[in-house]
């Protein structure tokens, strides 16, 4: 043994203190130098532990965050449901507005062809009888309407006014059995009269068997009779039957306006100089 046993402690203490003092001196002398080898070693050894700790803490923090999130989840869920209902209602309203605009644009485009003023009216009621087909609109004499004025739907002629109050008018649709409209077949220019048949649609009358009529031919207003302007579509030929007895063909016409879905109409008011 180099030292007696009783000096071990003092020797060891001295050595360790000296080592620490050397480290401090080295640090003081080279403050800006690179990290020392042993220090790097410790930092490298600590890295996996630090990483593990950080991951654990992250998991802990996230779990805690999720727990807090769950506490507020029910209230938030309720709030979001309410908000969702509100937004759904808004969406329906916006969609409705958009569809209204589309329909009105079609109606307005149709009217632009004629030298008339028009009143846009909303359909407020429908006559549900199988043969009498009419609708009520929310405009009347107060808005310049009167009996006999033509009414357009978004796809063509809808009918004409048969009754007129101050703020309500009744429209007789072209499918009403009392409706007769002077028409012509667009392709062959053959004249005829379009008569309503109720739920079945319309029938084109007084077309001789000699005339060639095809399914799909467009039926337009002839302008005669002084009610409907010329050239507006009323429907298309759905069926032709020449075998029936008599001079005329039996021609079924499918109205172009879907009366079941009619929501807005345009009433054409002729200008002061006369014709619509």
């Amino acid at each position: 043994m180099m030292f007696p046993k009783k000096y071990w402690t003092i020797t060891l203490a001295s050595l360790l203190i000296m080592a620490a003092l050397i480290m401090i001196s080295y640090h003081a002398a080279k403050q800006d130098s690179d990290t020392g080898f042993f220090r790097r070693l410790v930092l490298e050894a600590a890295w996996p532990l630090e990483s593990l700790k950080n991951r654990s803490l992250k998991v802990l923090r996230e779990s805690w965050g999720r727990y807090l999130f769950l506490i507020g989840l029910e209230a938030e869920n309720r709030r979001l449901r309410k908000e969702n209902h509100l937004l759904e209602n808004q969406l329906v309203q916006y969609r409705e507005g958009y569809l209204n605009a589309l329909r009105l644009r079609v109606i307005l485009k149709l009217q632009e062809q004629f030298d008339t003023t028009q009143v846009i009216a909303e359909v407020i009621d429908r006559e549900q009888s199988p043969v009498f087909k009419s609708i009520l609109i929310d405009k009347g004499t107060a808005h310049g309407l009167k009996v006999g004025l033509p009414v357009l739907g978004d796809q063509g002629i809808a009918g004409r006014i048969t009754e007129c109050s101050w703020h309500i008018s009744r429209i007789m649709l072209i499918v009403d059995v009392n409706s007769n409209v002077s028409v012509l077949l667009q392709r062959s220019r053959t004249h005829g009269v379009l008569q309503g048949t109720g739920a079945a649609g319309c029938r084109l009358k007084y077309v001789p068997k000699t005339e060639e009529v095809k399914v799909g031919d467009a039926v337009i207003s002839s302008g005669m009779g002084g009610i409907f302007p010329k050239g507006i579509i009323l429907g298309v030929v759905a069926a032709v039957d020449r075998k029936e007895g008599g001079f005329f063909q039996r021609i079924d016409v499918q109205p172009s306006v879907d009366f079941g879905k009619l929501e807005e109409v345009a009433v054409l008011i002729p200008r002061k100089d006369g014709k619509p």
């Binding site: 060891l12 203490a13 003092l21 410790v42 600590a46 532990l49």
Partner: protein, 169 residues
């Protein structure tokens, strides 16, 4: 036995990382609960001098690295405290709770003073204000917790030595 030599430095490193990060998070960086200091005092009171002197040296070095302070500062402080503890344990009965509390308090204050002194010498930074604001509360916390940690360390020591702890000096 070789496992003990490998295990203890690693455990020391773990302890240092735990106290510098996890405890700092728990106490929101306001209080530094220096468990490693209590361990050094415990080792000085009760453990093998040669092995634990080296371990104190390593603990101090780990703390230097973990805190990013002056290299060798905590190393020196821990070595000094360890040998002071060894000296004290030779002269007094080191099982009394009051002694443990009082001695831990003094060691913690000594540590604070050493830090202030070395920062003044090396960086010319005056940290006298920190003694009251930082080191005194820290010393109080360490001293209050020291009996508890002494019991804990004793428990580990007993477990480590299969129920045959080293006798108190």
């Amino acid at each position: 036995m070789i496992y003990a030599h490998l295990f203890l430095p690693l455990a020391g490193l773990l302890l240092v990382i735990f106290q510098t990060s996890v405890l700092n998070i728990i106490f929101m960086g306001r209080l530094n609960v220096e468990i490693s200091l209590i361990l050094v005092i415990y080792a000085g009171f009760r453990m093998n001098v040669l092995r634990w002197a080296l371990l104190s040296f390593l603990l101090g070095f780990f703390l230097d690295c973990a805190t990013g302070s002056i290299s060798g500062l905590f190393t020196l402080i821990y070595v000094c405290i360890f040998f002071i503890s060894v000296l004290v344990s030779m002269r007094v009965y080191a099982e009394q709770i009051s002694l443990i509390i009082g001695f831990s308090f003094l060691c913690s204050i000594f540590e604070g003073l050493m830090i202030v002194l070395f920062f003044k010498i090396i960086y010319d930074i005056n940290m006298l204000g920190s003694i009251v604001q930082v080191f005194l509360p820290q010393a109080l916390v360490v001293s209050v917790l020291s009996p508890l940690f002494f019991k804990l360390f004793h428990f580990f020591e007993v477990s480590f030595h299969d129920g045959n702890p080293q006798p108190a000096k």
